[in-house]
């Protein structure tokens, strides 16, 4: 018996430790294990683009979508948002093929600017390094700082006639077969280019794409032919993509915005607060009910409910689960349902006591006999959660995940942890003990 009591203490000790982890990792600003909240709770924008891949060869769709993702990701990264998400979603539902691009921008509620910047054509700029600045050797400066070292020349991709891919023959660059992007300007561009190169011999004329410098050649002499080379240490694929982007001005695949969702930060934090508040009050009611109705077993059930909640919160942090409003609702719902198994067990224990069993025999038999109904009653909820998870929109997934996880974990805690606690509180078969194991405001007499 003492073994089981020590085990119960160990469980309580571990749970307290985990509880501290959950608490500390949330209050310490430098923690890596904070809850991650969905955009509906933290505020931000969720954009869904439809990519028109109908004109592409099916074999090229994958590559084109990846190229699209890279381009959009580069543009999104310029926003300076923390953890933006750009992902490709392939899928066919009921026969119709679809390719989507999903962009999530936490904290961005000005969706207008975001949409404009994602949808814009690539911006090619030629910029001169300011006179008094030494070109930074190390890549220690941010893109913004770097950009401030340069001054615009008025020469941009607008004045571009065409771009083509060439491979270096070794005379210009040290490497043979280095991919080079050859740019031909329009007449206006050629004139501007000639005058810039004439007046600024010896200075660095950097080539920027979407605000990021690609290469920093030094002007050797006036260039009058109206052509320029970009050799930025590309791989052949990168060079090919750049040529395509420059020529077509647009993205590798045309995209259309089909869904936008923006949530202001205040609405989200309000939702978290009220969810937590509702959960606390609900938990308090469940606790009161269990203790008043089931007495000692009820108290034990509350203890293991506490362990259950701590385990769930730890899982949310470690997996990590992105919490949405519906996800929090699913978790709170699972708190109510987690007790289900314990109630089944306690009713069985009561049956056994009525039949004249001793308290400790009744506890053992109660757990044994309640297992099948517990398993069965959880299966259908798990099936439902599984199908809902497949449903696949972020809103539903959030609910299905916390709910399904909750049903599974609560089944575990209700059976194993409650069992250890229950065994360790049975001291005797005395009248007092039977009173503590009674319920419904009565004692099951021998």
């Amino acid at each position: 018996m003492w073994k089981i009591r020590i085990l119960a203490l160990v469980i309580l000790f571990l749970a307290t430790g985990l509880g501290f982890f959950v608490y500390l990792s949330e209050t310490r600003p430098e923690s890596n294990f904070r809850f991650s909240f969905g955009l509906d709770l933290s505020g931000g924008s969720h954009l869904v683009y439809r990519a028109d891949t109908s004109t592409l060869n099916p074999r090229d769709v994958e590559d084109s979508m990846e190229a699209l993702r890279d381009v959009i990701e580069r543009r999104v990264n310029l926003f300076g948002v923390s953890e933006p998400l750009v992902q490709v979603e392939h899928g066919s539902i009921l026969g119709s093929q679809r390719d989507r691009l999903i962009v999530e921008l936490p904290g961005v509620s000005d969706v207008g600017e975001a949409v404009a910047r994602i949808g814009e054509t690539p911006l090619l700029e030629f910029k001169l390094l300011k006179n008094d600045i030494v070109f930074p050797e190390e890549a220690e400066v941010t893109a913004e700082e770097l950009a401030s070292f340069f001054e615009p020349t008025g020469l941009t991709g607008r004045l571009l006639k065409r771009a083509e891919l060439q491979f270096g023959n070794g005379s210009h660059s040290g490497l043979s077969n280095e991919p080079i992007v050859l740019i031909t300007f329009t007449d206006e561009g050629a004139k501007l280019f000639a005058s810039i190169t004439k007046e600024n011999v010896g200075r660095v004329l950097a080539i920027f794409l979407d605000g990021v410098p690609l290469s920093n050649p030094v002007i050797q002499q006036e260039i009058i032919g109206g052509t320029a080379q970009i050799s930025g240490g590309f791989t052949p694929e990168e060079a090919r993509d750049l040529v395509r982007e420059l020529n077509f001005g647009a993205l590798p695949v045309p995209i259309e915005l089909i869904s936008t969702q923006t949530v202001g930060a205040s609405l989200g934090s309000q939702a978290v607060e009220s969810g937590v508040y509702a959960g606390m009050v609900g938990l308090l009611l469940v606790t009161l009910f269990l203790v008043v109705w089931y007495r000692l077993p009820g108290f034990v059930a509350v203890l293991s409910l506490g362990v259950y909640i701590i385990i769930m919160l730890t899982f949310f942090k470690l997996i990590p689960v992105t919490l949405t409003a519906a996800g929090i609702a699913g978790f709170i719902l699972s708190i109510g349902m987690a007790v289900d198994a314990n109630i089944l067990i306690f009713e069985r224990i009561r049956d056994e006591l009525k039949r004249g069993a001793t308290v400790s025999d009744a506890v053992e038999a109660g757990f044994k006999r309640a297992w099948l109904p517990i398993r069965d009653s959880n299966i259908s909820s798990i099936i439902t959660a599984g199908i809902l998870f497949w449903f696949g929109t972020s809103l539903v997934e959030g609910f299905a995940l916390t709910f399904g996880l909750g049903v599974l974990i609560s089944m575990f805690t209700a059976i194993t942890i409650t069992k250890v606690f229950m065994r360790s509180v049975v001291w005797s078969d005395s009248g007092t003990m039977r009173f503590f194991f009674g319920s419904r405001f009565g004692t099951v007499k021998k």
Binding site: D40, G264, A278, E347, D376, V396
Partner: protein, 299 residues
Amino acid sequence: MFVIQHHKFFFILTALLFLVSLGGIIGVGVPVGIDFKGGALLEISYPGERPEVSLLEERIRSLPIGGFSIRETGDTGYIIRTRALNEAEHQAILALLSQDEGLNPTEERFTTIGPVIGQELRNKALVAIVLVLLAIILFIAYAFRGVSEIVSSWKYGIVAVITLVHDIVIPSGAFVAYSMLTGAELDILFVMALLAILGYSVNDTIVIFDRVRENLKINQEQNVVSTFRETVGQSLSQTYVRSINTSLTTAFVLLMLFLLGGSAIEAFAFVLLVGVIAGTYSSLFFAAPLLVWIQGRKQ
């Protein structure tokens, strides 16, 4: 058990509630939300007092975006619903709403869903509903597999399925009333709530039927003479505390979610709450008497 004795009363009560709900669903219905048909929803809140609805209506009417609706939310906010908007139209509405001196509203949330996505979600929701129904019917079949003594297993199955229909119709009917009061729309959360109810409430029925089978077996083994009526009544009195208590704890947390959980999940919590109560009611006061009635008719 009084439920079995007064089964007629419970049949009539159940039928009444069922018909009222069904009438509400068919006759009144619930407006379909933008999740399923596409459209836009804009929620704004004003720092101080909000301008009159008529003023905003007049301004928005000047835009070529077709029909729209404005509804008050909270103390200082509005929810505006329109067809799906592109970014330019979205900005145009925002500009119109911010015209008043010193009264710049905050955009609390903006959602626009193209008709394609709406259609897609509708299909997906239908598939999910069918899948869950199939899975649960299979589950019921599994739960009552190979039991042919005394009462054939398909009877348990049929009663369980009829009970499920009841458990879906009642919360849907309640949602019609809720929607008339609050303007709530049929959205993904509603479908999710219904599916969660399906998974949850089937258990109550199965637990009771399990007891019935167990008691039938015990009676047979011990040669106890007892009518089917009595056995079902006995099984009910053995399980009703468990049934009520488990749904009571779930109902507690759902009630709190409904009252305190915030506007985003209020409707969701409401449907679940009604569903959990209806599910427990139907297993105790409808499924068991129905089983007795079906069995009695054949004898």
